[in-house]
């Protein structure tokens, strides 16, 4: 057994495999299939300041090796999270990371401040990249200035590990990564979904109620990998990579490109046990290539 543990700032992960927010519920949904504590950690679904009903249905469309979603951050708000969900999350011994979303700087700050009080949440992932909400959301992640503003504001109220989740819908993602690093982020995670669209030619209508939605799954992997590599070259803080990871080979590509950890999203829908298989596959790869520790392959891509 190779050493799989990695560190993201103060956060210690038993292995580099996390789950992506919005694709793994609160973890409970997967208790029947795996021991969630086997994972490096889980990023639970987005929490906003207020209760949100999310978008109207249809919210999903399948595309070639990808899926579009337009969930729109449906959740019951930070108070409900704190009072009803958080107590249940305490049963997990692995890292439970909250995904914090909002539509104004103040609302991000409000959620982050509450999360800061929750002992059992060692880190938050600041979602400045959700393409499925009208106001705010992705907009914060598409300019350096606004990414900086929200990161700085949250940094002031949040003491633990602050991960900022970046949007791929930008010209230069490395610039945004540098901006949030400067503003106090302890790590960055990427990519969120690619703004996309599908049309039903029979009804001549968009498939999604929101017209556009976010693309995820294997189709986006090549774009995600490129962005992770670019960002890893640019910043000094750890990078968490995601986008289309479906098996251990995919995960290893991201680690080689410079990701310290990875998140698995859409693949959980196809195989609820995929995360555990990925952990085993990474271990096998390390043993096969004679590595003692996963740290030996992180950023080890040979480009010369």
């Amino acid at each position: 057994m190779a050493q799989l543990n990695v560190n993201i700032d103060k956060l210690k992960l038993a292995n580099p495999v996390l789950t992506a927010s919005g694709t793994f519920g609160y973890g409970f949904e997967f208790d029947d299939f795996i021991d969630v504590n086997d994972l490096g950690g889980i990023v639970v679904k987005a929490t906003t300041e207020e209760h949100r009903e999310g978008n109207k249905y249809p919210r999903m469309a399948e595309t070639p090796h990808g899926m579009l979603n337009a969930v729109g951050l449906q959740n019951k708000g930070i108070k409900y999270f704190r009072d009803e969900i958080y107590p249940k999350l305490r049963k997990y011994s692995t890292n439970v990371i909250a995904n914090v979303s909002g539509s104004t700087v103040e609302s991000y700050v409000a959620v982050a401040r509450e999360m800061n009080q929750l002992d059992h949440i060692p880190a938050i992932e600041l979602n400045i990249s959700c393409p499925n909400v009208k106001e705010g959301g992705m907009a914060f992640g598409t300019s350096c200035a606004s990414a900086q503003e929200v990161t700085k504001a949250v940094r002031e109220v949040y003491d633990k590990t602050l991960i900022v989740k970046l949007s791929p819908n930008v010209t230069n993602i490395a610039d945004i990564a540098l901006a949030v690093e400067e503003s106090g982020a302890d790590a960055v995670s990427l990519i969120n979904t690619l703004l996309s669209m599908a049309i039903d030619i029979r009804t001549q209508r968009p498939v999604l109620s929101t017209i556009t939605g976010g693309l995820s799954g294997p189709a986006v992997k090549p774009v995600a990998l490129r962005m992770v590599w670019q960002v890893a070259q640019a910043v000094k803080i750890p990078v968490i990579g995601m986008g289309g990871i479906t098996n251990a080979e995919d995960a290893i590509e991201f680690l080689l490109a410079g990701a310290t950890a990875i998140e698995v999203g859409t693949a959980n829908f196809i195989d609820p046990q995929v995360t555990v298989k990925i952990i085993n596959g990474i271990n096998e790869y390390l043993e096969h290539t004679g590595c003692q520790s996963v740290n030996e392959i992180i950023g080890a891509l040979k480009t010369k």
Partner: protein
């Protein structure tokens, strides 16, 4: 009581073609199947081929505990259902089950009406069997475009009186299920109505049931990515806001729903 969800490779042991675009697949498992309830469904993998990398949801059509078999009634719509629906005896399908809630059972001695449209008959076979096992009885009303699309009539008629409607009048009463006389005297004859089929049909059935003061349970469809409550893609509008069809449903009391138009 929570039945643990399982990921299983089921082996097809029988493929019954009902007409050119519907088949019933009877499957068995090496492992003992978990208890399956009427109204529940499975997420079936169609393999990783063109445009079918996500699983597809299908109702439990029948379940035989003693023989350890489960069957699905598959309507061939697109790629996914075509691949699943053409599996032959000996071949395998990977499934996650049991998923979703289930129809509530009538009390002993009650009589209920089961209504189905098109491939909406899928969950009614196990429902009829369960109603009888609960000591209640049922009549069954199914409708379809034409005679050819009235399915599982033999099996269903053994479980209760079977009424049929077809749009072209090739069999039974001509029209929609709601045009059938039994729909006029719900309160008099039934303690509850169950419905599965196209949205407009369920809506029409529910409207009549509600007007007659009879409880109505409907089984909804929705686009699903996960089937286990993780993605929130499959919501429907209810009086308590958005609920997931895959976990809060697929069976809802019609009064809970804010039907979309």
């Amino acid at each position: 009581m929570h039945t643990k969800k399982q990921i299983l490779d089921l082996q097809v042991i029988k493929h019954t073609s009902l007409n050119d675009h519907h088949a019933v697949l009877t499957c068995t498992s090496e492992k003992k199947l978990p208890t399956l309830l009427a109204g529940q469904f499975a997420e079936i993998s169609a393999g990783d081929t063109a445009g079918t990398f996500l699983r597809r949801p299908f109702s439990i059509h029948d379940y035989n505990k003693d023989e350890n078999t489960v069957s699905f009634l598959i309507q061939i719509k697109g790629n996914g259902s075509a691949i699943i629906g053409s599996l032959q005896p000996g071949e395998y399908m990977n499934v996650i089950l049991p998923l979703g809630n289930s129809f509530s059972m009538p009390a002993q001695g009650e009589k209920v009406l089961l209504t189905g449209g098109g491939c909406g008959v899928a969950p009614l076979l196990l429902l009829a069997k369960s109603v009888i096992a609960a000591g209640a009885s049922c009549d069954i009303l199914i409708g379809a475009r034409d005679e050819d699309n009235l399915m599982e009539t033999e099996e269903l008629s053994e479980l209760g009186t079977l009424f049929t409607t077809t749009e072209d009048g090739s069999e039974g009463i001509q029209g929609f299920v709601t045009d059938h006389p039994v729909m006029q005297e719900l309160k008099e004859n039934y303690s509850k109505v169950y419905s599965c089929g196209p949205d407009p049909m369920m809506k029409a059935v529910a409207t009549i049931a509600e007007a007659s003061g009879v409880d109505c349970e409907v089984s909804l469809e929705n686009t699903m990515a996960c089937g286990i409550g993780a993605c929130l893609c499959c919501v429907t509008e209810t009086t308590e806001g958005h609920k997931c069809v895959c976990t809060d449903g697929p069976v809802f009391n019609s009064k809970e729903l804010k039907w979309h138009n």
